[in-house]
Symmetry: C2
Subunit: 210 residues, 2 copies
C-alpha cells in the first residue's frame, strides 16, 4: 500500500515494463500490446519505455525471453518427477508443453508465432529453445534404442513429435477446438489423450522384447 506520490524516478521500470506487458497481453488475449498502455498503467509517460527499450520489438523480445525460459524450466522440472522409461518421459514432455501453452496462452502465441520480435537478435531465446529441443532429441533416441518407437531418421521423428504437441496446443489457443467438438472444459485432457493416442500407436515393426 504505497500511497505516497510517485517519485520522478521509477527505479525498476525495465522489469516493471516486461511484467506489465505480460499482464496486459494475458488480460486482453492479444500478443500485440500497446507500449503507451503499458506506460499508462505504470503511471509513467509515453516516452519512458524508450529509455529502456529502443522500440516495441525489443520489449517484446524481453517478454519472449522470459516466457521461453519459464517454459524450459517447467519442462525440466516436470521431467525430474517423471518415470525412467524414455517413451513415458517423452509423453511427460509433451504434456508439460501443452499444459504450459494452455495456462499461458498469449505468451505461448507470442513466443511461437515470432511475429513481434527477432528470434536471432536475442542471446537467450535460442539457448532456451534449443535446451527443450535437445531433450526431445535425446528422449526420441533413447525410446528408439529401447524399441519403444519405430526406427526412423532422428531429426524428422523428433520434429514430427514436437509438431504434434505444438499443433495440438495451437489449435486450442487459436480457438479451433470448438469446431472439433471438443468440450471447452476438457480441452487439456482431450489434447493430452490425443497426443498419447499417437505416441502409443507408434510401434516398431518387431515388437520390442518384454
Amino acid at each position: 500500500m504505497n500511497n505516497t506520490k510517485r517519485p520522478y524516478h521509477h527505479g525498476k521500470l525495465r522489469q516493471a515494463l516486461v511484467d506489465m506487458a505480460v499482464t496486459v497481453a494475458e488480460e486482453t488475449g492479444k500478443d500485440i500490446i500497446s507500449v503507451r498502455e503499458v506506460a499508462r498503467r505504470l503511471g509513467v509517460s509515453s516516452g519512458a519505455p524508450f529509455r529502456h527499450f529502443p522500440n516495441r520489438e525489443s520489449l517484446m523480445t524481453a517478454v519472449a525471453e522470459e516466457a521461453t525460459m519459464r517454459l524450459r524450466l517447467r519442462v525440466e522440472r516436470d521431467l525430474l518427477a517423471a518415470p525412467p522409461e524414455p517413451l513415458a518421459r517423452l509423453k511427460t514432455l509433451g504434456r508439460s508443453f501443452i499444459q504450459w501453452a494452455l495456462h499461458n496462452p498469449t505468451q505461448f502465441k507470442l513466443v511461437s508465432s515470432r511475429r513481434l520480435f527477432e528470434f536471432d537478435s536475442s542471446a537467450s531465446l535460442p539457448v532456451h529453445f534449443d535446451a527443450v529441443r535437445q531433450i526431445t532429441l535425446k528422449l526420441v533416441t533413447q525410446a528408439q534404442e529401447a524399441g519403444e518407437l519405430p526406427t526412423g531418421p532422428l531429426p524428422e521423428f523428433a520434429l514430427a513429435l514436437r509438431a504434434l504437441a505444438y499443433g495440438l496446443a495451437r489449435m486450442q489457443v487459436d480457438g479451433q477446438l470448438p469446431q472439433w467438438q471438443v468440450d471447452v472444459n476438457q480441452a487439456e485432457a482431450t489434447l493430452i489423450s490425443s497426443l498419447n493416442l499417437i505416441v502409443d500407436g507408434l510401434r516398431p515393426v518387431r515388437p520390442h522384447p518384454k
Copy 2:
C-alpha cells in the same frame, strides 16, 4: 493498360479490396494489413473501404473466407487424383494441407490464428472448415476399418493427425524450422516426410491381413 483518369466510381471496389488485402499480406508477410494502405494502392480515399466493410475485421473475414475455400478446393482436388487406400488418401490430405500452407503462408496464418476476424460471424467459414474436417474423419474411420491404423476413439485420433499436419506447417510459417536444422530449401519435403514417418509408424496391435 487503362491510362484514362480514374472514374469517381471504382465499380468493383469490394472484390478489389479483398484481392489487394491478400496481395499486401503475402507481400509483407504480415497478416495484419493497413486498410489505408490497401485503399492507397487502389487509388481510393481512406474512407472508401468502409462503404463496403463496416470495419477492418470484416474485411479480414472476407479474406479468410476466400482463403479457407481455396484450401478446401485444393484438398478436394488433390484427393480426386489420390490412390484408393484410406491411409494413402490420408497422407495425401496431409500433404495438400501442408503444401497449401507453405505456398500461402500469410493467408494460412490468418485463417488458422483467427486473430483478426470472428470465425463464427461468417456463414461460409465454418462450412469450408468443416468440409475438410469431415474428410479427415471419414478417412481415419476407413483406415481404421481397413486395419491400416490402430483402433482408438475417432475424434481424438483425427484431431491428433490434423494437429500433426497443422503443427508441421505452422513451425515452417512461424520460422521455427531453422532451429530444427531443416534446410530452408527442403522444408516442404522434410515436413511431408516427417508426417509420413508418423502415419506409417502407426500400426494396429495385430498386423492387418495382407
